[in-house]
């Protein structure tokens, strides 16, 4: 293809995005667009799958049957999100095996929040409330992103996430209306999950490398700092209703800006976890690898059986 032809295709592509039309898998797209989308969608899919582990840690110990069923269903929803997102990613010309390989080798990232341990039942409430709450703020704009399969997957993901968030908040509410021991458990969970939740929006805008291009492709509509502020403004009053204290001495409502001012985020902790030195990085990847390796003979058996069935059918009809 000549440079002129490519330029022409690029112009058509850019114009489509500018008109808010969707890019579909069979449409022409610049290689960089494809790669960026594989990176972002797979990172999102991996986060869903790795994210099953910290919450899965409490399924067998959930304190009531109702909570057990709700948690099981929630973790299953995350598997479902992983499934649509991997499928969306596969339309860009990469296989699920390759995607898993990237996760297992450490080449692909997933959300660092899942490298923190779930130590008490209140962590299940805090994850729903804070982590899913932050995820929704990150994800709602993606329902209008330019790549069709991703945008459509996100519509469903966001609906379910918002249900999960309410469920998490309801767990916190129950604890905060309970005994002193339960309130302490809730406060302890908030203390541990607050700062990592703020870090979920990524580095500050001047440190973020992908923002500008992502804005253009509608992979992003607001900056990391704007989203983080939105989360804080929305969440602090919820903590007040629970009667819990947000663990930030500098947190204060600013009448002039109409936003909460907040303290300095410990970015050294953020980078430490991103680089693999969080409490659970090793365990999470180990669990994923084990599931994949232990399942290898099962997947091979299913393929072998399907081949045999095909041959049998061909024999009968042929």
């Amino acid at each position: 293809m000549s440079a002129k032809e490519i330029k022409n295709l690029e112009d058509i592509f850019e114009a489509k995005i500018a008109r808010d039309e969707k890019i579909e898998p069979k449409d022409w797209m610049p290689e960089k667009y494809r790669k960026t989308h594989i990176r972002q969608i797979s990172q999102h899919a991996h986060s869903e799958i790795v994210g099953m582990l910290p919450e899965g840690n409490w399924i067998t110990r959930a304190p009531s049957l109702r909570r057990k069923v709700a948690l099981l269903a929630k973790v299953q929803d995350e598997a479902g999100h992983g499934l649509y997102l991997y499928s969306a990613c596969e339309t860009l010309g990469i296989s699920r095996e390759e995607l898993y390989e990237q996760l297992h080798s450490g080449k692909a990232k997933y959300s660092s929040i899942f490298n923190y341990p779930t130590l008490t039942w209140a962590d299940i409430g805090a994850i729903g409330w804070l982590v899913d709450g932050a995820a929704i703020i990150n994800q709602v704009p993606l329902c209008n992103t330019s790549f069709g399969p991703y945008a459509r997957a996100m519509v469903r993901v966001c609906k379910e996430e918002s249900f999960h968030q309410r469920q998490g908040y309801e767990i916190m509410m129950t604890l905060c209306n309970g005994t002193q021991e339960q309130k302490d458990m809730a406060q302890d969970a908030l203390n541990r999950w607050w700062w990592p939740s703020l870090m979920m929006f990524g580095p500050t805008d001047d440190e973020s490398t992908h923002t500008e291009q992502s804005m253009k492709w509608k992979l992003k509509r607001k900056t990391n700092d704007e989203l983080r502020q939105q989360f804080i403004d929305q969440t602090v009053p919820q903590a007040d209703i629970l009667g819990l204290k947000v663990p930030d001495e500098d947190l204060k409502y600013n009448n002039e800006t109409g936003h909460y001012d907040f303290g300095e985020i410990d970015w050294s902790e953020f980078w430490q976890v991103v680089k693999g030195h969080g409490k659970c990085n090793k365990e999470r990847i180990k669990a994923r690898k084990e599931a994949w390796h232990n399942g290898e003979w099962v997947r091979e058996a299913a393929m072998a059986y399907a081949d045999k069935q095909d041959k049998r059918t061909t024999k009968q009809t042929g």
Partner: protein
């Protein structure tokens, strides 16, 4: 109807669903593929849903203002009436599937009978559950065939699972004196009446899956009488952890 006998009988039904649901929920997030992970979790959810229906019924029968959670979490090990089969560990996917299929076929046949029970609560639970269980049976049966007629390795693994778990099948049909009284009063056919059908169905699936029907001279039992395997204590330690550590709280 004597409530004590009925409660005893209901525990026999409900505890199987609870313990198998608990076992399957250990696997959530660790399945061989995302699709099987989701499917096994679905089965766990169905079983736990059925458990809740039975326990709510038991709680209503009691005069002590019990809740479904008291019934689920606050009994001692010997008070659980589940069969040994459902406590067996998730040793590998072959064990999970075989345990499931051995249970599902029984569960389906039992619910068929329960649907005609004179007890309207039981009838309603059975009518709802049988739709779910017919799916469970199809899932586990299909996988049994895939593993049996898949690769040499999968055949070896699943044959081992069949051999090891076969000894637990007979207990599914065991009924206590109290069970028998309930079955008679509610006009539910005893499991004995479909035992030969059960083994016929299982044997025919095993044959189709290119697996051998094990020949054993003895069967293991005890769960239904409250004498469990060593696994059971650990299952309960996990399951009851919160209720035991933080008694009398709302969650």
């Amino acid at each position: 109807m004597n409530n004590q006998n009925l409660t005893h009988y209901l525990y026999g039904l409900a505890d199987n669903a609870l313990i198998l649901g608990q076992r399957l929920s250990e696997l959530c997030g660790h399945g061989p593929t995302l699709e099987t992970d989701i499917a096994l979790t679905n089965i766990a959810l169905d079983l736990l849903g059925q458990t809740r229906s039975y326990y709510q019924y038991i709680a209503n029968l009691s005069h002590e203002n019990l809740s479904e959670d008291d019934v689920a979490f606050l009994r001692k090990e010997h008070e659980y009436r589940n069969v040994l089969l459902v406590e067996q560990p998730n040793a590998d996917f072959a064990y999970v599937i075989t345990r499931q299929y051995f249970f599902d076929v029984f569960h389906f046949l039992m619910l068929e009978k329960l649907q005609n029970s004179k007890d309207l609560n039981l009838k309603a639970i059975a009518q709802k559950s049988i739709k779910e269980v017919s799916y469970h049976k199809r899932f586990s049966g299909d996988w049994l065939k895939r593993l049996g007629d898949g690769t040499e390795l999968s055949q070896e693994k699943v044959q081992n699972a069949v051999n090891d778990l076969w000894v637990f099948t007979n207990e599914l049909f065991e009924t206590s004196k109290a069970d028998q009284t309930v079955l008679k009063e509610l006009q539910i056919e005893s499991p004995e009446t479909f035992k030969s059908d059960y083994y016929k169905i299982i044997s025919s699936t095993l044959e189709e899956a290119k697996l051998n029907v094990p020949e054993v001279t003895y069967f293991q039992e005890g769960g239904k009488q409250g004498i469990h395997s060593e696994h059971m204590g650990y299952i309960l330690a996990d399951m009851q952890y919160m209720q035991r550590t933080y008694p009398d709280m709302k969650w």
